[in-house]
């Protein structure tokens, strides 16, 4: 097909010398032991996105986050200008400090201080222990030594990241690198209309992520999202991206805009509900006015541009769409073969009911195709767990999948070397 030029080496895959073109193993996605290594090598030392600053708009606002991949729960709280993160553990005898009704579940709220539900120790928003019940009963206890255990916390473009390493090997900005820093000036802060979704799924976190690192599957798995008249043509046409780019462990894939412009198509090729609501699979037709956008959102300078999907290693993605909205994906492993997938759709605050209807159409579309992905990935996990087949071929449109597994394995190898 070759609709778009490939790099001089002949393929996107060969453009990057650390990648080969051989079939790969998915044992990294079926093994309990490997997952235990990934927790140490990846989740306990990478920068992980845990929220947005809008979730903690003023001092005292907090939320908790369960992070089974790092064997912990954290509190993220705004203390004046600062956003802080702490392990959600009381220093007295280990009770989970902040929770409500269900000890396993996440919660959010506003507090002047945190009081332990067990024996009443208290902590300030800065983590300092401020009160010990019956303090004189203790033996030489110095409250100053019993503050909450801090977690490294920083923000990028309003996204809150944490790092569980004692001393992260890189700052957040160094970790993200130039390609991801290029989206910094996108107006994320203004896009506060949010549709939030969640699913628990029986698939390895990388296997799940893989389906969002390639669109090779889209004309097959998702072809039903298009009107009947177009389906055969879409599947036969396949998928080609005009641009892939890797930077450190991260990656981006860009999709061209031609398929996205329903308003330029003959009406018989558009769903009647899309015509009625002026919205659809790729979002509302009326472009949101976001002002001038940073060139970094379209690093391949593709025209017409449709979408860039930025993969923040290890488990976060931002997808920025031509129509002026974005969504995020996050893949939180809960075991070697299960995860929680969180999806969010964000846009500017709707100014009218009809804008809301357009966003509703986009949000329902997101659900319909995410259901297709989630179910397919459970089926994929079953296939690779059978242990019958050990090598799996990847094509050039799956370059980000190859890179992702390579980077994850690299970190495990580094960790093993370090441990001797």
């Amino acid at each position: 097909m070759a609709r778009y030029p490939k790099p001089a080496e002949g393929s996107w895959t060969q453009h990057y010398p650390h990648l080969d073109t051989k079939p790969i193993s998915f044992e990294d996605s079926t093994s309990r032991e490997w997952y235990e290594l990934e927790k140490e090598a990846i989740f306990k030392r990478s920068w992980l996105k845990v929220g947005r600053v809008e979730e903690v708009p003023k001092s005292g606002r907090y939320f908790t986050r369960e992070i089974p991949a790092a064997d912990t729960s954290i509190i993220v709280v705004r203390d004046g200008e600062d956003v802080r993160a702490f392990h959600n553990i009381c220093r007295h005898r280990g009770n989970k400090l902040v929770w409500s009704d269900f000890p396993q579940e996440e919660t959010a709220g506003t507090a002047r201080q945190f009081t332990c539900k067990y024996h009443g120790w208290r902590y300030g928003l800065d983590g300092a222990c401020t009160f010990v019940q019956q303090e004189s009963e203790f033996f030489d206890l110095d409250k100053a030594e019993y503050g909450l255990v801090p977690v490294h916390c920083d923000t990028f473009a309003g996204f809150i990241f944490v790092n569980f390493a004692d001393q992260p090997s890189q700052s957040l900005r160094d970790y993200l690198g130039p390609m991801l820093l290029g989206v910094e000036d996108y107006p994320f802060h203004e896009m506060t209309d949010r549709y939030a979704f969640k699913v628990e799924c029986r698939a390895n976190w990388k296997v799940f992520s893989d389906a969002f690192l390639e669109f090779y599957h889209a004309p097959v798995v998702h072809v039903g999202q298009h009107p009947r008249a177009l389906r055969a043509m879409i599947t036969a046409g396949g998928y080609e991206a005009p641009h892939y780019q890797l930077d450190g462990p991260h990656g981006v894939v860009t999709t061209a805009g031609s398929l996205h412009r329903s308003w330029e198509m003959p009406p018989e090729n558009v769903k009647p509900a899309d015509l009625a609501t002026r919205s659809g699979l790729f979002g509302p037709w009326e472009q949101s006015d976001l002002g001038e956008l940073p060139p970094g959102i379209n690093p391949g300078k593709i025209n017409p541009w449709g979408l860039s999907s930025f993969q923040f290693f290890p488990n976060f993605a931002i997808l920025i769409w031509e129509a002026g909205w974005y969504n995020t994906h996050q893949y939180w492993p809960t075991s070697h073969n299960s995860l929680i997938f969180e999806g969010n759709v964000y846009s500017l605050p709707a100014k009218s009911a009809s804008e809301r209807v357009g966003r509703e159409m986009a949000a329902v579309s997101f659900k319909e195709y995410s259901l297709q992905d989630a179910n397919t990935l459970e089926a994929t996990q079953m296939g690779i767990e059978a242990g019958v087949i050990h090598q799996w071929p990847l094509n050039d449109q799956e370059v980000l999948v190859r890179h992702f597994h390579h980077e994850a394995a690299q970190r495990v190898a580094d960790y093993q070397r370090e441990k001797g």
Partner: protein, 109 residues
């Protein structure tokens, strides 16, 4: 008392079941209805969507009268059932019974 503005009295018979505030409720209503019923709702609302949106747009989003909010919710339900009618010819997307995908929050109304 009618739930919808008088201009949309033709849709009143759908209002009791389909003027639902959240996606969770609309999804459940779609899953628990027969295709004939979804088709009927779809056919009734589709031609009136542009008018319904124009009607709702007369009010600020944070200060809509109750009947306009109901009308907006009915349009949301139309969006919800349109996928079953236009794409799948069944209530749920094919091959998606193994997992749910729950909407936790959304802007209201």
């Amino acid at each position: 008392m009618p739930m919808l503005p008088s201009e949309f009295s033709g849709l009143e018979r759908y209002a009791g079941k389909w003027c639902l505030a959240t996606e969770n409720e609309r999804w459940k209503a779609r899953m628990s209805s027969g295709m004939e019923e979804l088709q009927e709702l779809y056919d009734a609302v589709l031609p009136l969507v542009p008018e319904a949106m124009a009607y709702c747009d007369k009010f600020p989003l944070d200060d809509m009268p109750e009947d306009a909010v109901n009308l907006l919710r009915l349009v949301y339900s139309f969006v919800m059932v349109s996928f079953a009618v236009e794409l799948w010819a069944q209530t749920y997307p094919p091959d998606t019974r193994g997992t749910d995908f729950v909407r936790l929050s959304e802007p209201l109304p």
